[in-house]
């Protein structure tokens, strides 16, 4: 059995002359929960649509479960669940009608028990029309519809967008429920780094269409570090270190954000620039992501004058 469920090679998409996805090379192994993160307009939705064959790539290719995305057969699509951005479902249908509609495409693999349990768990009224459901309820219906056919690969485009914390938690629990089944893989894009931190074991970071990171969550969290160096004298004007992301100078301090600098490298750096002390600041995933994707010369929105 092939252990790579999703692969892209130089996947590129241009809208006019603007690159939405730029030479994306990805490999996602079977059985992981993969958080796909990026800022607004980073190209997450475009990349997902390219992977699913809903958009035509300008260059490169993608394959899902060993089949080229541009020619996904019904048999392969049957093995892939997809939750589209915004949970756009047929508004005039009731949950029951939508279930019957969806089940017709998965006659053998539809797990009726799972669907019923999820609907009961989320406390969704089956006779209610989609247009009368709240955002959160529509998200829950989307998830139930995507999970009930037991997909080998579940791709979700910002599934928790607009949901409150409690419903998001329920949603994520549903995802974990799926991954508990052996061999299932989930790729989900999100803006909420807390969610990614809670459930993912792998992270993909995309920025302006370019892949910035594709590794295990643990590796990513280990790799991004912020170090505050204190000086008794003048702060050095230039710091030359591999993997330097940002450098912020204070009166007697130097704040560095580094990629891939281990304890030894940091100690060596502190020694080489004659820092009196140094302190490695603990960051959560959100802080790490912001530091990692912020442009080098980023400015604060409001610059208050100090009095």
């Amino acid at each position: 059995m092939n252990d790579t469920v999703l692969q892209t090679r130089g996947l590129t998409k241009y809208y006019d002359s603007t690159p939405a996805v730029d030479h994306l090379d990805l490999e996602i192994p079977r059985g992981c929960i993969c958080g796909f993160v990026g800022r607004n307009g980073a190209g997450k939705t475009t990349a997902i649509k390219l992977m699913l064959g809903l958009l035509e790539p300008t260059a490169g290719s993608a394959s899902l479960l060993g089949c080229d995305s541009s020619a996904l057969t019904p048999a392969i699509r049957q093995r892939i669940g997809y939750v589209a951005e915004g949970h756009r479902l047929f508004r005039w249908m009731t949950i029951g009608a939508l279930e019957r509609f969806q089940r017709a495409f998965f006659p053998k693999q539809w797990d009726d028990k799972l669907f019923r349990e999820m609907i009961e768990y989320f406390d969704l009224p089956k006779k209610k029309k989609i247009k009368h459901l709240s955002n959160g309820q529509r998200a829950q219906v989307s998830l139930a519809l995507a999970l009930a056919p037991n997909p080998e690969l579940l791709i979700m485009d910002d599934p928790t967008l607009g949901l409150d914390a409690a419903i998001r938690r329920q949603f994520l629990e549903g995802m974990i429920e799926l991954i508990m089944r052996q061999g299932r893989t989930i790729l989900f894009s999100s803006h909420i780094l807390g969610d990614v931190e809670r459930v993912s074991d792998r992270i993909i970071v995309i920025d302006k269409g370019v892949l910035r990171a594709n590794c295990s969550l643990e590796q990513f969290q280990r790799a991004i570090r912020k170090v505050v160096l204190s000086f008794s004298g003048d702060v050095p004007g230039q710091v030359d270190i591999e993997g330097l992301l940002h450098c912020k100078r204070g009166d007697k301090q130097l704040e560095l954000t580094l990629v891939g600098a281990d304890d030894e490298k940091v100690a060596a750096l502190a020694k080489s620039i004659r820092a009196e002390t140094y302190n490695v600041v603990t960051m959560n995933l959100e802080d790490q992501f912001i530091e990692f994707t912020a442009p080098a010369n980023h400015k604060r929105l409001f610059q208050w004058e100090e009095r």
């Binding site: 649509k49 809903l54 048999a75 699509r77 589209a84 479902l89 005039w92 969806q102």
Partner: protein, 233 residues
Amino acid sequence: MKFAALFGKEFRECLPWMLLAAIVLLAFGSFFLRAQAYDMNPNRDWSRGYNPPGTAVEAYRLTFNSPLAMLGPWLFCCSIGLGLILGARQFWIPNFTRTWPFLLHRSARRTTILTAKLTAGSTALVLAIGGVWVSLYWYACQLEVFTVPPPARVFIHGWILVIMGLLTYLGTALSGLSEARWYTTKIFGIAFAVIIVGVTTGEWSLARALAVIAFGAALLLSQLFDTFATREF
């Protein structure tokens, strides 16, 4: 099973518009025919100089100027109108509601999905307009309504108008699928359908009219399948 599910969903979306068009056409058509029948009722007061029914003059008028044929403009408007509405409902609205990805990512080929859509839309149009037309023709054929039944050519010409609605439906569908800007090639589908309808309307020969319709429908269908297979959603 998959086709049935797709067809059912599409037909259900067309149903309200189909019923509305059928009710409007049936209500107006039956009212008009009843009024015409009353006009020719032998028990009415003929002292105002009309030709009483059963006379040679009245029979002549009914043969060449059937009251059913006078419904032509109404039938034309309802057919074209319903074609426009169904095309918009099935191929424009999903662009705004953004339900294309949900519909397309399923274990069915795009051609199956499109065939189900077109079959459902065409069935709805033919049932609504064609069904009502058959009913009105049957009503007009009753001897107690008109002394001379409408000629068969009126019935056939009515069906040509129904098919014009189908052409408009296909043209609207093609325009809905087009990703071009509205003022450029996006309107090609509707414009082409309008041209074909115009040419057919001015064509006196039934065979030539059918040939023009067949040409138009074949071109629109080939464009629709090609666009749907290659379009980005």
